[in-house]
Amino acid sequence: MKKIFFIFLFFIISFKNAYSLIKVDITRGNLDPLPIAISPLHVDSKSEKLSLFDTDKLGEEISEVIEQNLRSTGLFNPLKKDSFVQKPDIAHLKPRFEDWRLIKAQALITGKVLVKNKKLKVEFRLWDTIASKEMIALSFTTTPLNWRRVAHIISDKIYERLTGESGYFDTRIIYVAETGPKDRRIKKLGLMDQDGYNAKYLTLGNELVLTPRFNPTNQLVTYMSYFKNMPRVYLLDIETGIQEVVGSFPGMTFAPRFSPDGKKIIMSFAKDGNSDIYTMDLKTRVVEKITNHPSIDTSPSYSPDGKFICFNSDRSGVQQIYVMRSDGTQVKRITFGTGLYGTPVWSPRGDLIAFTKVRKGRFYIGVMRADGTGERLLTENFYQEAPSWSPNGRVLIFYRETKSGAKGEGFSAKLWSIDITGYNERQIKTETDASDPSWSSLLSK
């Protein structure tokens, strides 16, 4: 009897000890940029010397391009190199993670450079210093002159591995380079790497050029030019420099873009006070009228799947944004806020439309969902417009103009970029003033 009693007691006690699994919610962390260490790449001593530049400095320069790229995203905090303990050659073979953890790095980038047979070979590794393991190891071979592109491609790989999103560093920007007094501006087509290097001009500046755009393969540019005082849409081949008029319209054509498959150019055509949207097939030269309304219809932008077009129209009396099927049917207005809306651009991810908004004399860059809901204004200014998306749909580039004095003094136009979260607003350095920027897709695909 007593035994049974004690057995029962034992069971009671053991029940009491059966704790369920404790669960703790972690809903907050810090949003500080991730501290990473980018070690200068080790240059293999067997490397050949080149006439064009100093091979010995290449390892350092590649790491600087990577560092600049990652820092510009606002997501990473590259640590100061003078605090690095390990030398680049050893770090690349076998990093001592404790050394790197000591300076608070959570990720480490190391690499090696070899120039042989007039070819450049770059190897890099991305390490998780906390878990003490390698995350990526890749190598690239190219001509030495392309070393910047290798640095950009490496930056993209690192960005992708550490954020889960594809990168946007191996890209170019086409824009309008401006000089001269405000009422007599000289404008040329400018082309540069996304970080501002390798800038070159594609036109001479003898006539006004405006609103350039890349085609999906980044080999052609469509833009509007006042050549011979006839404002028309043109096509330019970046490689050959050859320009040609798009179609033979009896009036001004403007606001051109390519369709996502690169086969058509979509643009506005103005005649007798009315502007409508047209497409022209580049191969067959067949022209199709897409909108048919006495209002101004302009700034068209395809959805990435090519099925829809968003555009700017004042058919309601004020500039608003509309969406229609790519054949022009089912036109639907999507903006209803106070003020006016312009320059709609569809994100390459298909989820958002970026736009310019003017309200009470102030200019805003914003994003909204493709049905017009969820409008978010990212930045406000005296004058700014024409956002363009990075290929991963996370960053917008646009341009700003400053207020000018009585004689036009103090006027400047500059390129700016901002993350779609509204953070990390920064100016993009250009040699001259700049406007109408457009971002290419990733050069390597």
């Binding site: 405000k182 007798d272 006070g273 502007s275 700034s299």
Partner: protein
């Protein structure tokens, strides 16, 4: 003595009153050359011929012609009918306070508004060509409401 002093004082008062009032009116004119957001001044206006202004002005985002604009265009039409061998280009412009592409279309609308009006007064369309410069060629580079109103214009330019 007292009388002359009083007279002198009276003169002084009258004189200064006149001066002030004159200034006042002058200031008023210069301060408000805009009427309903349309420029009504003559500062930037040039002339095609004696008494024929070369341009008309518009309100923000609008392309409708004011009474003054129509008056100007009628004068242009009369002059064009008299000088039958002249062809003109009508340039449409917009101020800088709008998006670039829309401004190109707006300039074209303004130029066409002027062209249509000229045609209703007997000028053949073949003599009138139209071009839009959007906001690219302001006549006044300042960033002020006055400058912007002077830039919202449609200018008739001799082509030959």
């Amino acid at each position: 003595m007292r009388f002359s002093k009083a007279l002198r004082n009276l003169f002084l008062v009258l004189f200064s009153a006149l001066m002030i009032s004159a200034c006042a009116t002058a200031k008023k004119e210069a301060a408000d050359p805009l009427k309903n957001d349309v420029y009504t001044g003559t500062e930037t206006v040039e002339y095609l011929a004696n008494g024929v202004p070369d341009r008309v002005f518009f309100a923000t985002n609008k392309f409708s012609l004011t009474t003054a604009a129509r008056d100007t265009l009628r004068k242009q039409a009369t002059w064009l009918r008299k000088n039958k061998d002249i062809t003109v280009t009508i340039e449409g412009h917009a101020d800088e306070r709008g998006t670039r592409e829309y401004n190109l279309a707006l300039g074209e609308r303004r130029a066409n508004a002027a062209k249509d009006y000229l045609m209703t007064y007997g000028v053949s369309g073949k003599r009138l060509s139209v071009i839009s410069y959007g906001k690219e060629r302001p006549v006044n580079p300042a960033s002020s409401p006055l400058a912007w109103s002077q830039n919202r214009r449609s200018v008739t330019v001799k082509a030959n």
